[in-house]
Amino acid sequence: MLAKRVIPCLDVHAGQVTRGLQFGRAEASGLRNVGDPVELALRYNEQGADEMVFFDITASAEGRKSMVDVIERAADQCFMPLTVGGGLRTVDDIRTMLRAGADKVSLNSSALATPDLIRAGAEAFGSQCIVVSIDAKRTAPNHWTVFTHGGRKATDWEARDWAQKAVELGAGEIVLNSIDSDGMKGGYDNDINRAISELVSVPLVASGGAGKLEHFAEAVEIGHADAVLAASVFHFGTFTISQVKDYLSERGICVRR
């Protein structure tokens, strides 16, 4: 049986893993350094993470080059799926990351600016390595607006419409990151997760809001997520990945042990 995945996300700023509240901005002082990305990746690898996401939180805002070196070092030691996101704008950017050892790339602002990047990436490397990551905020009842630039700029897209468009263009997976829930530890936004999971044919990764063990189970049971992604609860040691997996397993959810 296909297991539900537990995915730690490493937000990387200037080569260090950082974490802030609600889309904390790299240039603001609200970020805390939590360590070397490769060391953390190895720790998660040991704990049984199902895959890992490295996200360059500065790249999109400041046009900074992404972290080829981090990916190479991680890929050389962790034999598990790696996704890279942040500031990838061209097919060449995607190729560079895949060559460095990434299996998937996560496109966000750049895909909204140039939707054709999704198609071009999927054609060149296959849909399976093109993940479209959506930052969504509830702006009206039953309406979620897609934002870019770390949650600072609203777009004209409704999250479900954009998810559907992205899949049509060739996205092989959708990550839904709730701006409202991010960093708040109050649970995932299961409404939007479920709506998108039922709408699109590709896997949905729930992101933003995990604070308790129950939240991971709810994301699967209520939000119909295929995978759950979290950052701070793992970085700060609130839970280990194995604790989350033990809990999900007790609730009857299939996880890899």
Binding site: A75, D76, F79, C129
Partner: protein, 206 residues
């Protein structure tokens, strides 16, 4: 120490394949043409992306016949993902393009509307064969899959591992000194590295 060749036709993430074999105690060499094949103890055919592109890529570097001859001579061979699918006759993904045709079977798409396609993630296998390639691999071992297509009509005598995803499909085949997997051993942590190590051990014996 023996050297294992990894066919490199500029597709996707090959670095992880290289590192997985190196971590299993062998030297590796990129094979970008048949000239790179001297003194190899084993040959690995990775594959990522579309079936047709991989076939074209393999032909473009002149490795089409070389792979067929290598396998026909029963030299140690490891096919991964589309490198597994290419061993069959054809694929629904790119109609009209011939596969290597080493095994009977056609690669088809998952069609159950209830399924998320591609299948992305960790799924279990059922062991269907005793083989030194499958040392330490048992029923229920998880491997990492990323695919929308699987081979249908695979001969039971070569089916080594089976997996359920809406349908039961052949997740790995073995025959003589050949092993090929739909999943990615290089991304399957300990279980994947074990499979790679089993292969490396075998090349070092033969």
């Amino acid at each position: 120490m023996s050297t294992i060749g990894i066919i490199n036709y500029e597709i996707g993430n090959l670095r992880s394949v290289e590192k997985a074999f190196q971590a299993s105690g062998t030297k590796t060499r990129w094979v970008r043409s048949p000239q790179d094949m001297t003194d190899l103890s084993g040959l690995v055919l990775p594959g990522v992306g579309a079936f047709g592109d991989c076939i074209k890529g393999l032909r473009a570097i002149g490795m089409w016949d070389a792979v067929k001859e290598w396998v026909a001579a029963d030299k140690p061979f490891f096919g991964i993902c589309v490198g597994y699918q290419m061993l069959f006759e054809s694929s629904e993904e790119t109609p009209g393009i011939e596969g290597l045709g080493i095994f009977k079977g056609r690669v088809v798409k998952f069609t159950d509307p209830k399924l998320k396609v591609p299948q992305i993630g960790w799924n279990t296998v059922a062991v269907k064969q005793k083989s030194p390639f499958l040392n330490e691999i048992s029923d229920g071992t998880f491997f990492y899959f990323v695919h929308s297509y699987y081979p249908q009509g695979v001969d039971h005598s070569i089916a080594a591992l089976e997996t359920e995803y809406g349908v039961t499909f052949t997740a790995a085949v073995t025959k003589g000194n050949l092993v090929a997997t739909q999943f990615h051993p290089e991304k399957s942590q300990k279980a994947g590295l074990q499979l790679v190590k089993n292969f490396v051990n075998l090349t070092q014996k033969s």
